[in-house]
Amino acid sequence: MFKKTRKSRLILVLCVSAVLLSALGISPALAEKRFEGVEITVFTQTPPFIAKPVQMFRADWEKETGGKVRLITAPWGELYPKMFSSFALGAKNYDIIIFPAAYLADFASNEFLAPLDTFLAADTRIDWLDILPVYREKISTYAGTIYAITMDGDSHMFYYRRDAIENPEHQAKFKAKYGYDLAPPKTWAEVRDVAEFFNGWDWDGDGRIEYGVVEGMRKGAQGFWTFFSRSAAYTSIPGQAQGLFFDPETMEPLINDPGHVQALEDWVEMIEFGVPGMINMDNGEVRSVYAAGEAALAIDWGDVGVISDTDPGSTVKGKVGYSILPGTTRAWDYVKKSWVDFPEVNHAPYLAFGGWIAGIDAKSDNVEAAYDFLSFLGSPENSYICVTTPETGFNPFRESHFEKLAGWYGYGFVNPEDYLGAIQATIAHSNVQPDIRIPGAFRYFEALDAQLAMALAGAKSAKQALDDAAKEWEAITEDLGKEKQLKNYRASLGLPIE
């Protein structure tokens, strides 16, 4: 009898609560599960890198919203063809794509992606202004409209072995040989000297020979980004519209101008001072070689820093210094067709690759749910977990990522202030150069890559290789439509389109 009464009361209370909540227009269960029955499909690179954050957070979002996240992945080489064909044929295979920023122009200029400005304006979770300006205003934006949510901050930076450079014995020897103090290189000319000095001898006393430098030069990998990291300072004058890829007035390729030729000559010379086999190394190998303590200097994205300090197999933990990419004391002015000398070092850090961003298929049936998932994934809290977790492949891109150091120490960094400081100095630099962002970007890159490889292999001079690359770029531009490409290029630089 007692049991029956208690049960009856419970039912009564639930019924009354339900009636009252309904009367107030609140249905807690329904409000929480706002995407019940909705399935969104996310497409990105094969795990772990880049897909891992989706795997990490989809269960939480599904629990919160009632929606479902289906993850489809493909290797790097298949991303672009699959994304482009799905959009262009209207197949709606994917609601969300997480893709390299270099594809944005292709997708946005063809109206494949849903504009996100309205969603962002109403979003209280994503804290859009916390994202560093270069990412939200340039990398995620095309022709003034936001088409993507920043997921990853990517830029090339420079690494040096502090223990080697700060050694007084090395400093004395270096000064005797080169006539100036050994210090972290500030210019590419100094990089050459330091690389030469540390090449081919056991400077860390581990009984093995070490080398001057390690850079990714492999054909068909990321070498062309390393090249532009070297050529940016030779070709980018502060305040001038970008001189790295094309003349924004004529769409004439600039990659064979004297600045680029000088950079390629410098780069070819580095083979002599590099780890043997460097010409066949991609950036994955650069990271493992540097963490194994084989080289004094390196160029890479933030990953060398991560692996050097956090990988259990690293022999250089706490020994690595970080800096903005070295600069030059002169740069080629593509407008005046002459060299310009600088009293101070001219830095032009390069946002190589530009990072991974996420967009939504404009034809998706689930744009709202897709946006909600992206907002959840890219929120300050979750993105902080992503950038401080191994194997996500994501690097910091928000103000808050640089402010909270606890996660970075927890990640294993010995000097997170230095690491984050170098990234911030790169991203916030007034002469920072975004990557190429026009349709057919990878067609241009592929053509250049083959010519760079020829120069690195000694089959062509730097000038000949870049002249040939420029001819191929002109042909690609003609093929894709010169007028259209010029408009796209100007839009990508934020210049007025006539």
């Binding site: 086999g277 066949n280 000694g458």
Partner: protein
Amino acid sequence: MINIWSSFTGKKAGRAFVLPAVIILLLLTIFPFLFSLFLSFGKVSFLGGLQIHFAGLRNWLRLFNDERFYNALSNTVLIAVIAVAMEYVLGLGLVLLLNRGVKGSTFFRVLFFLPMMLTPIAVGYMWRMMFNPTRGPINHVLPLLGLPAAGWLTEPKIVLYSIILTDIWQWTPFMILILFAGLQSIPPALLEAAKVDGASGWRLFREIIFPLLIPASVAAILLRSIEVLKIVDKIYILTGGGPGIYSESMTLFGYNLGLRAFDLAYGATIAFSLFATVLVISIIFLLMTRRSQEISLE
């Protein structure tokens, strides 16, 4: 009541049963093949749906003026000729040894087949580590033997031979497999009779074993040649086509232009030029083999 199945007899029934297979073949093989051929004469645009405009011989003219095409073609043919020849010679030698019933021949037979069972990607990574200039075992051992270390994958003059070496390592077992089956099919009585007549080992090989192995040899060489002419996976892992373009094969060239650069029409043109190359080489090889057989019969 009319039984419609009763009319399905003889040729009609045969055609009806074959039809599903023909449709599948058309959909999966013939249609993509013809579509690719069509693409090689077109210009592709995906904007506003898939659009292919007829471009005449534009892609083919571009191909014949492209230095990378001739480089990839010569690399591919060189790899195919040397690798297949070496695989055949080594395979034949090992088959003759195994057939002599040497001690542990069953063990060696299994051991020899192991490389063939690995995926080319795994083989590529394994050899990339072996060839590593500073950490690889090959360059570690060579100086101990008084030989100089080498840039196996970075020296333009030797990179193709390094790739050929990996192919020989992996695919000689295929030659062993086919030739061993061919050898087993030779009637023992024939060999015994020759021995009784006093034929030496060399004469036995030259006049009985080798001629009777020709059909198996032709099949093995042809199948391997077709495969090697399409080589891409190991090269992709070992060198990416570098240094420069010194190790770029036809398939890798097609992949780079067709899928990395997403120039589909040109990629299709490259693919078809490879198809034509394979076809021409196969026909020449078969004609030469037939001619040599006719001469030997005369």
